[in-house]
């Protein structure tokens, strides 16, 4: 069996891999909340626009409208964060803008192919909620592992416990371990 399993790529797994930039940037509870909520808004906007624009517009135009909606949603979220906490905006604005360019958002912006897909569009919203929650949980877990505690204040928790977890490299190692753990758990549940 090859190590790089290139043939088996489910849509959900691809989307999760596409979420990696946000999971990597989510290195604390506060930034995780910011990214998770922004992602939820952006993802929901993209899927809602793809659903609401009449199919007669054509797949390409609907995709462009959906992505434009997602960009505007990202900008609105960034503006709101800037109004609430300018320092948080300064430290996180590049990360916030990444939300609109992730694979799950691109997938959500693609118009549903059939009427059945259109009727199942609410699943897209639930998926966005799940991804957003994953971003927050990863942020929480990484801050806990890096500093041994969790805080909502900026730059108060020093990474003294397991500093690598606050770094991008640590995030990818953690994601690799989590994916392996998930695979083992899935295999065990299937064997039962």
């Amino acid at each position: 069996m090859p190590n790089d399993d290139r043939t088996v790529t489910t849509r959900a797994w691809t989307a999760f891999v596409g979420l990696t930039p946000l999971l990597v940037f989510s290195n604390g509870l506060l930034i995780g909340l910011v990214l998770g909520m922004t992602f939820l808004v952006v993802h929901s906007t993209a899927s809602a626009v793809a659903l609401l624009v009449p199919a007669s517009f054509g797949q390409r135009r609907i995709f462009i409208f959906s992505m434009a909606g997602a960009m505007i949603a990202a900008s609105v979220c960034a503006t709101l964060i800037r109004i609430i906490d300018p320092m948080l905006f300064e430290s996180a604005f590049t990360r916030i803008f990444l939300t609109a360019y992730t694979v799950p958002v691109f997938n959500a912006a693609v118009v549903p192919a059939s009427m059945a897909d259109r009727e199942r569009a609410w699943e897209n919203m639930a998926r966005g909620l799940g991804y957003g929650l994953a971003i927050v949980l990863v942020g929480l877990g990484r801050e806990l592992m890096a500093s041994g505690g969790v805080t909502m204040a900026q730059s108060i928790n020093p990474s003294v416990f397991l500093p690598i977890m606050a770094q991008p490299a640590g995030a990818m190692v953690l994601l690799g371990l989590a994916a392996a753990g998930f695979r083992v758990a899935t295999a065990r549940s299937i064997n039962r």
Binding site: P21, L22, R60, V76, V103, A169, A180
Partner: protein, 190 residues
């Protein structure tokens, strides 16, 4: 950013993108020809210049930094429309790139543009920084692909095969390069 910084981007630019979580996909380079890779590098260079200049000289003075993703979207869709027009004028059909690979490339373009925009000030450095980051990303893709091929010969535990070992390899690459960056290049380039 000095010429040393530019050399850093030329050699290890991909590391920055790996650190941004833009993990190179196995299909990214394998599916692309030399021409496609060159086109991607040129696109990254122009995206960096466009994004950097608009951000610095238009959005920041007006306090509209939040509009950055919209501006980049206009650039991407504008380039897309221009490509369609060029293909139409040449009488060739243009395939809509609505697949995972083109999505990831858009993300890389955006990341490279933002990264170069933050690090460089002049047009030439923006142009060079964007191109070098794209080159570095393609190189990192090759490195990661080579690592995965080498690991095919090793008895990797079943649970770690596929995506998990790819993530861990990318993480170790990012760790190694960030060590080199922090201890050597960052000191030289300031």
């Amino acid at each position: 950013m000095s010429i040393f910084g530019l050399a850093f981007y030329f050699t290890f630019g991909g590391n920055i993108l790996v650190q941004w979580g833009v993990v190179p996909s196995a299909r990214t380079v394998r599916a692309g020809s030399w021409g496609a890779s060159l086109a991607f590098i040129i696109a990254a260079a122009f995206a960096s210049v466009f994004d950097g200049l608009i951000f610095r000289y238009t959005l920041t003075p007006m306090g509209l930094e939040s509009m950055a993703p919209i501006i980049f979207a206009i650039f991407v869709f504008g380039m897309y429309a221009a490509l369609r027009a060029v293909f139409a004028s040449l009488g060739k059909s243009f395939v809509d790139p609505f697949d995972e690979r083109s999505f990831q490339m858009t993300l890389v373009l955006y990341a490279a543009a933002m990264m170069a925009g933050q690090c460089f000030s002049s047009v030439w450095l923006l142009l060079g920084g964007g191109a070098m980051a794209a080159f570095g990303y393609l190189a990192a893709t090759r490195f990661l692909d080579a690592i995965m091929e080498r690991l095919d010969l090793e008895p990797v535990p079943t649970a770690f095969r596929g995506a998990p070992i790819r993530y861990i390899s990318a993480g170790l690459m990012a760790l190694a390069f960030s060590g080199v960056d922090a201890s050597f290049f960052a000191r030289i380039s300031g």
